[in-house]
Symmetry: none
């Protein structure tokens, strides 16, 4: 189970935090690290010093340019978020996240991504809206900014506890229907937006959070692949009704 | 409650770990730090850098020569221990420790100490035997040595969770957005089915469980009233595109 949990760090500035993250992961039995557009050289003397023997995880990390690439194959994407946002998103506690993991990872092809933002500014709204849910580590409101590796440590610890608890249980039956992957969901959202523009319902120049609201609604339902196929079928039928413009 | 939990570091070698400990404590709302015979200058540039704004806790720390002095007024002393020892001692998990805290700290004069050993060799047997119990953070057996500040982070997090749980007798705030009523949902499903028939996607004569699947998907998301209004708006825009039949 633990090998199918991916830690994703976006725009990290300090190599020491990458090393600290690798150590925290290895301590808790996690192995899958992805770095999205790091703002520093990932492997320096600081990395190795803070990794304290876990730098193999940094050597093995995938470095990519976008969050989409990092989580394309993931069936659950959870963003670590300190702030409550203008558009509220499903929020879970680290403990509730841990408790969900055995079921989320019951199917062998399932993957969970835990996404952490920049040291100075966290995750952007666009990044947060690509997540099924946000996890908030409860902190002192007067001093709420956790060190990046410390935040990874807390969530990795909850992952390990959930895994240990699960060892004693009976094996879970996988969900009957495979869930849609992040990539399939993004294709659906792109198709949905195109269609809403084509039918005149949506004007990207005045978005009024429309796509964000539709994302939140859809992600909350955790669509199965087959459900997404139905929804895309509806979009295709709708598109056919749109009169072709002369200059098309 | 949190102000009566003391973090005790024995024989720390790296100022950065003292700074990281202060940050982890302050993040979780702990304030009481004691240093026993540190093997480094506690306040250096490294301390301040890792403390990231929490160095006041290091300024306020009591530095003493022996564990006895550091925990003299404590009613419960718990030692962080990685190893199982020759002489078995009461062992608790971090979670069980958290669950015990509200009762342990119910009396106003009570104090709890969480004791952490040296980076290289942990607590001595003599120190461990001065503890009421030992707490073991579950780790990967192949890579079990946690960073000192990371270990403090995990236990401080459990302290904060226990404190928050203890506060949680307060009534919960209602959801910000009202959920759609059953009636509103049924109107939506009727509208959806009409539209899917109109665009030629759905034939009620051969339903293939289509509406059942769309119901299940939608209900799973527990739609808010506003979200349902958006979905009905999309249906209305779609219906307008359907060419009117001659006999309508």
């Amino acid at each position: 189970m633990l090998e199918r949990i991916r830690i994703v760090l976006i725009g990290t500035s300090h190599p020491g935090n990458i090393g600290g993250t690798a150590r925290a992961m290895h301590n808790m039995g996690l192995t899958d690290l992805a770095l999205v557009a790091p703002r520093c050289e990932p492997l320096t003397a600081d990395t190795v010093s803070r990794a304290s023997g876990a730098d193999a995880l940094v050597h093995g990390a995938h470095t990519v340019e976008t969050l989409e690439e990092a989580v394309a194959d993931c069936t659950l994407v959870v963003g670590a978020s300190a702030r409550s946002r203008t558009l509220p998103w499903p929020m879970i506690t680290p403990r509730a996240l841990g408790e969900r993991l055995p079921e989320e990872l019951a199917a062998p092809e399932s993957r969970v991504a835990l996404v952490f933002g920049r040291e100075d500014s966290g995750l952007t709204n666009a990044e947060l809206q690509r997540c099924h849910a946000h996890v908030h580590i409860p902190t002192n409101p007067d001093f709420s900014s956790l060190n990046l590796a410390a935040a990874v440590q807390v969530l990795a610890y909850e992952c390990r506890l959930a895994w240990l608890d699960h060892q004693a249980d009976e094996p879970q039956a996988p969900a009957e229907q495979p869930l849609a992957s992040h990539e399939e969901l993004e294709h659906y959202f792109a198709h949905l937006e195109r269609t809403l523009v084509a039918i005149g319902f949506h004007d990207p120049a005045t978005p009024r959070q429309l796509m964000a609201r539709l994302r939140r609604f859809t992600l909350r339902a955790r669509p199965e692949r087959m459900e997404l196929n139905i929804l895309r079928g509806i979009l295709s039928y709708t598109e056919r009704l749109v009169p072709r413009r002369e200059d098309d």
